[in-house]
C-alpha cells in the first residue's frame, strides 16, 4: 500500500473542482478505481451540463505522468509513498 498524490491538471481541475487528492492504493489500477468511483459522478454531471451526452470515463480520456514520467514507458510501476500521479484530459493547444 502506498500513499500517493493524484493531481488533476488543467481542465480536469476545473471540471472536478479539485486540484489534488491523497490516497492509499496498492497499484495504478486501484488509483483508477478510486478516481472513477469518487469523481466519476461529478465528471459525468459536468459533462451533461455542457451538452456532452455520451458517457465518458475520466481515466480513458486522460493522459498520465507518474512522478513526471510517461506512464506508458514504465513497466508495471510499483507505487511508493509520496508518488505523484498527474492526470490530464486529452486537450488541444493552439
Amino acid at each position: 500500500m502506498a500513499k500517493i498524490h493524484i493531481n488533476f491538471i488543467g481542465p480536469l481541475r476545473v471540471i472536478l473542482g479539485t486540484q489534488t487528492v491523497t490516497v492509499n492504493v496498492k497499484s495504478i489500477e486501484e488509483a483508477r478505481d478510486y478516481v472513477e468511483v469518487h469523481y466519476g459522478p461529478v465528471y459525468e454531471k459536468k459533462l451533461k451540463s455542457m451538452g456532452v451526452n455520451k458517457r465518458q470515463s475520466i481515466w480513458d480520456n486522460s493522459i498520465f505522468l507518474l512522478n513526471g514520467r510517461n506512464i506508458s514507458q514504465l513497466d508495471e510501476p510499483v507505487l511508493k509513498d509520496g508518488d505523484k500521479l498527474d492526470l490530464m484530459l486529452l486537450v488541444a493547444g493552439g
Binding site: 491538471i9 488543467g10 481542465p11 481541475r13 476545473v14 471540471i15 459533462l47 455542457m50 451538452g51 456532452v52 451526452n53 455520451k54 465518458q56 480520456n61 493522459i63 505522468l65 513526471g68 514520467r69 510517461n70 506508458s72 514507458q73 498527474d86 490530464m88 484530459l89 486529452l90 486537450v91 488541444a92 493547444g93 493552439g94
Partner: protein, 615 residues
Amino acid sequence: MNGYQGKLLIADLTKSTLTDEPLNEKYARDFIGSTSLAARYLFDMVDEKTDPLGPDNPLILMPGLLNGTSGPSVSRWGGATKSPYTGHYGDANASAWFGAELKNAGYDGVILKGKSVKPVYLNIKDGVAELKDASHLWGKDTYKTQEEIKKESGDNRIQVACIGPASENLVLYGNIISEYGHCLGRAGLGCVMGSKKVKAIAVRGKIKLPMHDPERFREAARQAMTEVKEGFLSMIMHETGTAGWVDGAISYGDGPTKYYTAATLPEATRISGATQVEQYQTDSTACYSCPIRCRKILQIKEGKYLYDRVEGPEYETLIAWGAMMGLDLDMSTAVYFNEMCNAYGFDTISSGASAGYAFYLYHLGVITEKDTGGLKLTWGNIDAAIELVHQIGKNQGFGAILAGGTKRMAQKYGRPIGEAVQTKGLEFPMHDPRAFHSMGLVYATAARGADHNKSDGYNIDGGTGHPDLAFKITDRWADDKAEMVERSQNWRAVCDSIGICHWAIIPVALITDMINASTGWNTDLDQLLKAGERAFQLQRSLSCKLGITAKDDVLPELAMRPIPDGGQEGHVPNMEKMLPEYYALRDWDSATGKPSKKRLESLGMPEIAASIGAK
C-alpha cells in the same frame, strides 16, 4: 457555380482600379478554398525574382468553402503571398467572422496587386467595392482602426481585417488582425499589405450563396452541429480554450523555456486556461457559426494592467511572451503582452522567439547593454520584455533587429545558424519536438516553415485526432511518425480549404454531405484526402519554385539538444530515420526536395511539375 459566389475581387492599387474576375472553376474544384486555393493562384503570379515588398507580389485572401453557411465552426479563412519574412511561400489562417462576411459580401476572394501611393482601405458591401482614403487611419493600432471604420460605416456588424503600426513600419512579421486579435498571424502577410499602403479591408453583405441542395445541406449541418455541441474535445476547448494546454505543456515539457534550454516553466500555470476560468473569466465568445465558444472573456481587477472586458490570450502567446524568456507572469501582464502585440499587429510567435533569442545571446554575453540600448535582458526581466514589444512594433532601436527574426539575428551577430530555432526562416511554434517527436517532422516539412497548424501531431499523439481518419498513434517519443504526419497534413489542408475549425470533430460522412449538398460534387474521404495532398504538394512545389531545397528541411541544432529535466526526459527526435521515411511517402527528391513528376501528375498537376522541373 454552387457553393461559391463565382468571382474574385482584383484590386490594382497602382491603377486604383477594382475589377471582378470569374473564379477559376478548375482551381476551385481541385483546391477548394482558403489557403489551398490562394496558393494555386499565387503559383502563377510569383517567382524567385519577385520582390515580396514590391508591387508584383500579390496578397491573396480567401474564405474557406463553407464560410458563410450554417455548418458548425466553419469560420476559418486564409491568405497567401510571397513572404517578406522568409523569402519564399507564406500563408496564414484565421478564424472569427471575416471570412464568412467576405463570402456574404459576394466574393470568393480578394487579390491585392500593385501599390497605392497613399493609404487606402478597401470597402466591400453586397458586391460593390470601393477604395477609400485611409490617411486618417494610418498610424492607428488595430483596435482603433476597426472601431473607426465601424463608426464611419454606421454598421457595427461590418467585419474588418486590418494592419497595425507594425506592418505600416514594415516589420517583416507584421500580421493582419480581424475582430480584435484574430489574425493571419505568420509569415508577414500584414507586412505585404503595409507595403501596398492598404490599411484595412472592410466587408459586409447579405448576398445569398448559391447551393446545389439547400435542404440536404441544412439537414447535414444540423446533424453536424449536434455532433460538435456534444463532442468531448468541444467541451474541453469550451472549458479552458487553447490556454488549457499550458498545464499540459508544463507536464510534457512542450513549452519552450529560456529559449529552448530549460524545462518548461512550472510558474506558467498561473496564466493557464484553468486559472483563467477559475479566477478571471466572466464570459465566453465564439467565431462564426461555432457552438464551442472557446474564446474566453476575462476581467482583470488586480495587477498593473486592468481590464474590464478583454479576450484571453491563446496558448502560443502565453508561452512565446512568457516562458520563452523565463518570465513568471501574472494574468494582468500576460494579457498586456497579448493586447500590445495585437494592437501593433505582429506575429507573437516569431516576435517572442526573437526576443527569447536576444535574451539567450545576452545570457551568453554575445550582446550587452551596449547592443540592447541599455536593456538588461536577464531571464525573467518582464520590464525589458515589455520594452521590446514596443520597439518591435515601432521597428525602432534594438527592437528593429528583433523585427527581422532569429535567422537574421544569427547572421548579424556571427552566430551558428543552428541557434536560430526556425525552419525555412519561420520560428518554431510553442510545441517542442523534444516533447513530441512528430512535431520535428511537421516543422521540417511544412511549406511555409515551422508550422504547427499544418498538422497538430502532438494532439494526435495525445489522442485528440479525428477518429474517422484512423491515424496511427504511437508513443510521443517513438520515431515512426512519417505516416501519421503525412496523413494529418493532408487532412489539415482539407480542413483549412473547407474552413472548418480544428477543434470541431465532425464525422467525415457529414462533412462530405455538407460539401456535396453545397457544391453538387460527389466527393468522399479518399477524394478529400487527395485534394489535401494536392494542396500540400502544390504549396511545397511553390516553396521549391521560390528557392527552397532539401537542405532546408532540417531542424536547428539548439532545439535538438536534450533536456534531461522536466517532461522531455532527455529525448530528441530521430530525424535521420523519420525524414527519409517521410520523403519516400511524399515522393520528394532527396537533393532538390521537389515532389516527383509522377506524384504531381497523379494529383492532376502536370503543369506544376513542368514549371518546377520535377523529375
